[in-house]
């Protein structure tokens, strides 16, 4: 009985989380990530550098005793780095038990985007960064680039390999 209730609750939770995105900005673009991945949002913190990491991984931070890595999404998308300010935020996301902080310029809001308002990204390779973008959401007059969290985290290995071969 209890488990049935729990299941119901979980379904409800998922329902409330479905179609909701946390939106943030990097420069001029607006991005969104599914809210179910987001654990919390914190202000910028002192970051401890760790050697041998790719440049977009800025280091590790102490989140209440838990040590998590942080990634500068700007650098991940090969944009110009920007100095961190009061407005800079770290979005802590949790994917497959891996916690990681994403450094973004500003966090905007939590927006609901219906499935029918989400377009697949353009197929051609002309658009920038589209390998991390899994959809384009329309919200009123604005357009949000919806990110594939899994890809942000995991594709770096193949990339690293590629760069090593070039060297």
């Amino acid at each position: 009985m209890a488990s049935i209730l729990e299941d119901n609750l979980q379904i409800e939770n998922e329902d409330t989380q479905k179609g909701r995105f946390l939106t943030f900005t990097l420069g001029k673009e607006d991005y969104g990530i599914e809210i179910k991945y987001v654990t919390e949002i914190i202000g910028i913190q002192p970051i401890t550098q760790v050697p041998e990491l790719p440049d977009y991984l800025k280091g590790i931070i102490n989140l209440r005793g838990k040590i998590i890595p942080v990634m500068d999404v700007r650098l991940r998308f090969k944009k110009e780095p920007l100095d961190y300010t009061d407005r800079t935020c770290i979005i802590v996301i949790d994917i497959n038990e891996t916690s990681i902080g994403l450094i973004v310029d500003t966090v905007s809001e939590v927006a609901s985007i219906d499935d029918e308002d989400i377009m697949p990204p353009p197929n051609s390779k002309t658009g920038f960064n589209n390998k991390y973008v899994k959809g384009i959401g329309k919200l009123g007059n604005e357009v949000k680039l919806l990110l594939d969290c899994g890809k942000i985290l995991s594709e770096d290995e193949t990339e690293l390999l590629g760069s090593m071969v070039q060297v």
């Binding site: 002192p46 401890t48 550098q49 760790v50 050697p51 041998e52 990491l53 991984l57 590790i60 931070i61 102490n62 209440r64 005793g65 040590i67 998590i68 890595p69 891996t98 916690s99 990681i100 985290l153």
Partner: protein, 675 residues
């Protein structure tokens, strides 16, 4: 049955209990072997085997329960009939085989492997042994021994009747074996010394057929007169025919063949007998019967993490910069109290992870015994300080090195009997294993009184194998001895069963390194060798020197620091590749600039403004250049996030008092990365 029920938690308990019992049994056997004979421990061994038999039968591990059953038979005979001449040496050997068998089976069960071995050859040994014991009554059926202990009758002397009952069931009743089993089960309430034909009542067709054809024959002893027994048995369901023969029992047990080996075994009985035995024996039993609860190690780790966080957040509160300059007497008092409690809490959590070394040490007993028998060397093995407690993680790492060292000591160290007599030493070799606390470390010292290490031989061999890094004349004795810990070194010409493949000693070094320990070797030709292993109490907390490099802080384990020194620029030697070196007391060390290796902005690029730390790992030393020393403190070691994976030169990280992170430097991999 196990197909239908989820047996996982039960299996876990079974594995846990059985391995504990087996360990206890091994201790008892080895202990009583030293004290010449198992006699004083028969009851205890019987009890353990009985428990194992019961629980393994319940879990359907028939091979274990069959084996346990035949061991039980032997000890039952020993206990009840006290045969005067027993070859306890041989019995000990068999028992150790039994222990090994059950032990390995339990491991298989734990790992969920399916291939259950057949214990029949050990059972064969046991039955032969038992029948040898009973030579006076040859031809007797061994298997007819007592079926079960725990009957309510305390005094076998006053039983009145022995019965033989033949029970047949109605033809269409089905599941005869189950019914037969039920009959015997109910009989146990009023009778004892029950034996039956067919001997094995199993839920099998063959068994069913046999009972259907011949009926169930039960022999038992009972106080009740025949009429009452008949009445009792007639209550059996689906009963078709019942014949009961009564055979009065003589007071003299020998005369009654039927019941002679079917006497009841009582646990109460055994404890009663125990009380008269030496207190020492009781102590041994008590040692292994402490009050324990087993806790999932994950939970322990979590608890420790949380306590670690608590300690940090405590100092974040009490040393908060916003409090600076304020006079807060009440707050300070409360803060001190909090500090005291958190400190205590941390100590307790640490101590919870501590396990005495005794189980690891006891394992060595067995190795010494087996090896000394095989190599025909008489060896006394002494253990002291086995109650010393060490963190669980560390214990797991030192067991292998100890086994290697002991094997080496027996194989290479201790001489043969003849050699010992020639050298004017006692015939019996001696190995001592000692553990003691000193400061924050634990010393494990293994001493043998064998021939000692052959210095010349080691050097020769090292040159042959090309593993000598410096001229031998420059090396101290200790350095020469520690060559044997290098990979690919073995002085023994031929490879024996136990040691000599040249792997092993470097395993010792590797394993000890892993837990942050060190190995020292000392030896005197002709009088023996001493291995001193220093290991830290725990892996989770470590003494570290915190250093600053530009904006970053790093922690260097204090164990690897030899000294720190200020130098002048012109002390530094540069080679054409711009590798910097420094001469300290005639030794040349490379300088590693930490800011270059870790690619951080250094506070200073000038060597005279910073400080050099001479660090050593695996007999290799380098000087590490940092901006400044911050101080030495105990730090709680945390792993780097998995996402970051392995970083060369970094073994983990720790949180400093102000909440900032300091990376812990792994000196060994730092030196390796330099290459």
């Amino acid at each position: 049955m196990s197909d239908y029920i989820n047996t996982e938690p039960m299996q876990e308990i079974f594995v846990f209990e059985t391995s504990q019992l087996i360990e206890q049994l091994e201790q008892i056997i080895l202990y009583s072997e030293k004290k010449n004979g198992l006699e004083s421990q028969i009851n205890e061994i019987f009890r353990i085997m009985h428990t194992i038999k019961g629980s393994s039968a319940m879990m359907c591990f028939n091979n274990i329960s069959l084996l346990a059953h035949s061991v039980e038979d032997v000890f039952f005979h020993l206990r009840e009939n006290k045969p005067p001449q027993v070859d306890y040496m041989y019995l000990t050997d068999i028992m150790l085989k039994v222990i090994d068998f059950i032990g390995s089976e339990v491991v298989k069960i734990k790992n969920k492997e399916e291939s259950y071995k057949d214990p029949s050859n050990i059972i064969h040994l046991l039955t032969n042994f038992l029948s040898d014991l009973k030579t006076s009554r040859t031809g007797e059926e061994i298997n007819r021994s007592a079926h079960e202990a725990g009957e309510p009758d305390n005094n076998p002397g006053i039983h009145n009747y022995a019965y033989k009952a033949v029970i047949t069931f109605e033809e269409d009743c089905e599941m005869e074996s189950m019914r037969a089993f039920a009959v015997i089960h109910t009989l146990q309430q009023v009778a004892y010394g029950i034996s039956h034909l067919p001997e094995e009542i199993l839920d099998k067709d063959s068994c069913n057929k046999e009972i259907r054809a011949k009926g169930l024959t039960v022999r038992f002893c009972c106080r009740l007169p025949e009429s009452e027994v008949r009445q009792f048995l007639e209550e059996t369901m689906f009963l078709r025919e019942l014949t009961i023969e009564c055979e009065p029992v003589h007071a003299d047990r020998e005369s009654s063949e039927e019941t002679e080996i079917c006497l009841p075994g009582m646990e109460e009985d055994s404890t009663g007998k125990n009380s008269g035995e030496p207190a020492e024996a009781d102590k041994l039993v008590n040692l292994s019967k402490q009050n324990f609860i087993s806790v999932n190690i994950q939970k322990m780790n979590k608890l420790m993490d949380v306590v670690g966080e608590l300690v940090i957040s405590e100092s974040m509160v009490t040393q908060n910069p916003e409090l600076k300059g304020l006079e807060l007497e009440g707050f300070k008092k409360a803060a001190r109290h909090l500090k005291k409690i958190t400190g205590e809490l941390q100590d307790i959590v640490m101590s919870m992870r501590m396990v005495p070394l005794s189980t690891t040490f006891q394992k060595m007993n067995r190795i010494v015994r087996d090896m000394s028998k095989k190599l025909e060397k008489d060896i006394v093995f002494e253990i002291t300080g086995e109650e010393t407690e060490v963190d669980k993680n560390i214990i797991e790492h030192i067991s292998d090195p100890l086994i290697h060292l002991i094997r080496n000591a027996i194989d290479h160290g201790i001489e043969t009997r003849e050699e010992r007599i020639l050298a004017g030493k006692g015939e019996i070799g001696k190995i001592t294993l000692e553990a003691k606390n000193s400061g924050g470390d634990v010393w494990i010292i293994l001493k043998d009184d064998g021939r000692g290490l052959d210095k010349e031989g080691i050097i020769r061999k090292a040159i042959e194998n090309n593993i000598l890094q410096r001229p031998a004349s420059d090396m101290t004795d200790k350095e020469i001895y520690s060559i044997i810990l290098l990979p690919g070194f073995s002085t023994k010409e031929e490879v024996t069963e136990f040691s000599g493949r040249g792997v092993g000693m470097d395993v010792v070094q590797k394993n000890i390194d892993k837990v942050g320990g060190t190995v020292q070797i000392d030896s005197n030709p002709g009088t023996g060798t001493t291995f001193s292993i220093k290991i830290p109490l725990t892996l989770a907390i470590m003494d570290g020197m915190t250093v600053r490099v530009g904006p970053a802080t790093y922690t260097i384990p204090t164990v690897s620091i030899r000294e720190s020194l200020k130098i002048r620029q012109n002390d530094v030697i540069c080679d054409p590749d711009k590798n910097e070196m420094i001469m300290i007391r005639g030794q040349c060390y490379p300088i590693l600039r930490l800011h270059r290796i870790f690619n951080v902005k250094a506070g200073t690029g000038k060597l005279e403004e910073g400080i050099l730390i001479l660090v050593e790992s695996e007999n290799e030393s380098v000087c590490v250049f940092v901006d400044s020393l911050i101080g030495e403190q105990q730090v709680v070691v945390k792993a780097l996030p998995q996402y970051i994976k392995q970083v060369q030169g970094i073994s983990g990280c720790t949180l400093l008092g102000d909440g900032s992170i300091s990376l812990i430097i792994d000196i060994a991999s730092l030196i390796n990365s330099k290459r």
